[in-house]
């Protein structure tokens, strides 16, 4: 590989510190159960170490792309293995596994979400709850509200943006309050 090199143990640790949490987040986004995520990320690094002889990219962007490629292979292998296991399990057990993987949520997170929703306009709140909480699609929401799907889509996109801003503000205010409460 051009522009690549081998790296030492210390650099591998730094690499793990840099990418570990990020890969965990990506794994969650790919629907990997919480109980398997850490193992999956370890697997990514094991494969990266195995493949280091071919050279590790120097450039930070190339390095990220290289790690991402390995991650994608590991995720694909994970689902293949899981599919094989599920064929061997009696029906229903896979759902139980999923439920067990659901981690209990932070009370403060719930409070921040409630506050963020409360700060949205009624129209945004309604569309967001119907979509995100009730799981309705834009085409299902449109007749409920008597609006065109395109309009509902625009309202939903706007609602999600507003939710992001309000959620950030709500979290910040909760952090400030916690700091005040814990005080000197």
């Amino acid at each position: 590989m051009s522009g690549s090199r081998d790296i030492d143990h210390g650099e591998w640790t730094a690499l793990y510190n840099r990418f570990g949490r990020r890969l965990l987040l990506l794994a969650a986004g790919r629907g990997i159960p919480a109980s398997s995520r850490e193992d999956l990320v370890h697997e990514v690094f094991c494969r990266a170490i195995e493949g280091r002889r071919a050279g590790v990219p120097k450039n930070s962007q190339d390095l990220a792309g290289w790690m991402y490629g390995i991650f994608n292979h590991v995720v694909a292998d994970h689902w293949r293995t899981r599919a094989r296991h599920e064929r061997l399990l009696p029906p229903g057990d896979s759902q139980l596994l999923e439920c067990a993987a659901v981690t209990p949520l932070d009370e403060n997170l719930s409070l921040a979400v409630r506050r963020s929703l409360a700060r949205l306009s009624r129209r945004h709140r309604l569309v967001l709850i119907l979509n995100a909480y009730q799981g309705l699609t834009i085409n299902e929401i449109a007749p409920l509200l008597g609006r065109a799907p395109g309009t509902v889509g625009a309202i939903l996109a706007e609602a999600k943006k507003r939710f992001r801003a309000e959620f950030r503000a709500a979290e910040e205010s909760l952090v400030v309050r916690r700091l005040k409460d814990s005080g000197p």
Partner: protein, 338 residues
């Protein structure tokens, strides 16, 4: 373009995709590029990490934890009570329309009284009409705001204070008008006409103040008080109140006027206004501006009835929404969320 500009632009492009990514809406072809960016950008990673947790809480995972979103929270968020902390408790449009409509009606009424002899009173009309428009608009806005603030604070004098602000500010204007407006007949008619100042005072005492209080301020105050009671979890009492249960307590700081009574009053007022004004127009002597006067009379009746009718329609709609929310909160674990 410098490297820094290019980097900032790329980052900005990815920043716009954060929401789509966290809600799982990012197109497959954009996702890979975004995820590679996440591996290198600390800012985007931190943002995504936070928002993903929020989105997960918002979604079904919330049902699995004790402190998550409860059904009753959602009913509140979807219903009237969720808007209590919004500007004007979520009734900004109503307040804007009511305030501007009432101010226009007041200005229109004054212009009507000055229009018959516009050649003589034109100069006075030129500055008193805009002044009345602004003054009355501000009075109405101050009254809405006072009532809202005190209702949010659970004060029992909310309606009284709101009404007092309105009557006092409009009263001050009427006192000033008695000094400023001409003490000369407002029209030439077969009967002895009132002076402009007296006619203006009569318009407010007989029509303007009752309309503002009964159709706008009191209903608004009652709706906000119900919203507050729903937020405080008094939905059982709200339901009892609407069911005319003798044990139900009226919301603090508000007076309930049943819509049917308001509807009846509006109907009687409509008949009276048409008959009384027809009598006035039948006895009106022709003058250079009698046509303008007649037009303004009809416009004034129309504006007044539209304002009263609009206030009543809003009131009925809000009461129904409040009932719907109170019912949904009473049985939080049964039926559909909607």
């Amino acid at each position: 373009m410098t490297m820094v500009d290019e980097g900032a632009q790329t980052h900005h492009k990815f920043d716009e995709e954060i929401v789509d990514y966290c809600f799982g809406d990012l197109a497959e072809d954009r996702r890979a590029a975004f995820e590679v960016h996440l591996l290198t950008c600390d800012g985007c990673f931190a943002e995504v990490e936070h928002l993903v947790a929020g989105v997960r809480t918002l979604r079904g995972h919330a049902q699995a934890s004790a402190g998550a979103l409860h059904r009753s929270d959602l009913i509140g968020l979807l219903g009237l009570s969720g808007d209590l902390d919004e500007p004007f408790a979520g009734h900004l449009k109503f307040v804007a329309l009511a305030t501007s409509g009432y101010a226009i009606l007041s200005a229109e009424a004054l212009l009507t009284e000055l229009s018959y002899f516009l050649d003589r009173f034109g100069r006075v009309a030129l500055w008193t009409v805009p002044l009345a428009l602004v003054w009355v608009g501000l009075a109405m806005l101050a009254a809405f705001n006072t009532g809202l603030r005190l209702t949010r604070a659970d004060r029992s004098n909310a309606l009284l204070a709101s009404g007092a602000v309105f009557v006092t500010v409009v009263g001050l204007m009427l006192v000033g008008a008695q000094v400023i407006l001409p003490h000369e007949p407002s029209i030439a008619s077969a009967f002895v006409p009132r002076t402009v100042a007296a006619a203006n005072l009569r318009n407010y005492v007989l029509y303007g103040l009752p309309l503002g209080l009964l159709f706008l301020l009191i209903p608004f105050q009652f709706v906000v008080a119900i919203q507050r009671d729903l937020v405080r979890g008094r939905h059982e009492n709200v339901l009892r109140f609407f069911s005319k249960d003798p044990l139900a307590i009226s919301p603090r700081g508000a007076v309930y006027i049943p819509p049917v009574i308001l509807g009846g009053m509006l109907g009687v007022a409509a008949i009276y206004l048409v008959v009384a004004n027809q009598y006035l127009l039948d006895n009106l002597l022709a003058g250079p501006h009698s046509e303008l006067f007649t037009t303004l009379i009809y416009l004034r009746i129309g504006t007044g009835l539209a304002l009263g009718g609009g206030g009543l329609a809003w009131y009925i709609r809000m009461l129904n929404e409040a009932k719907r929310e109170a019912l949904a909160r009473r049985s939080p674990d049964s039926g559909s969320l909607l």
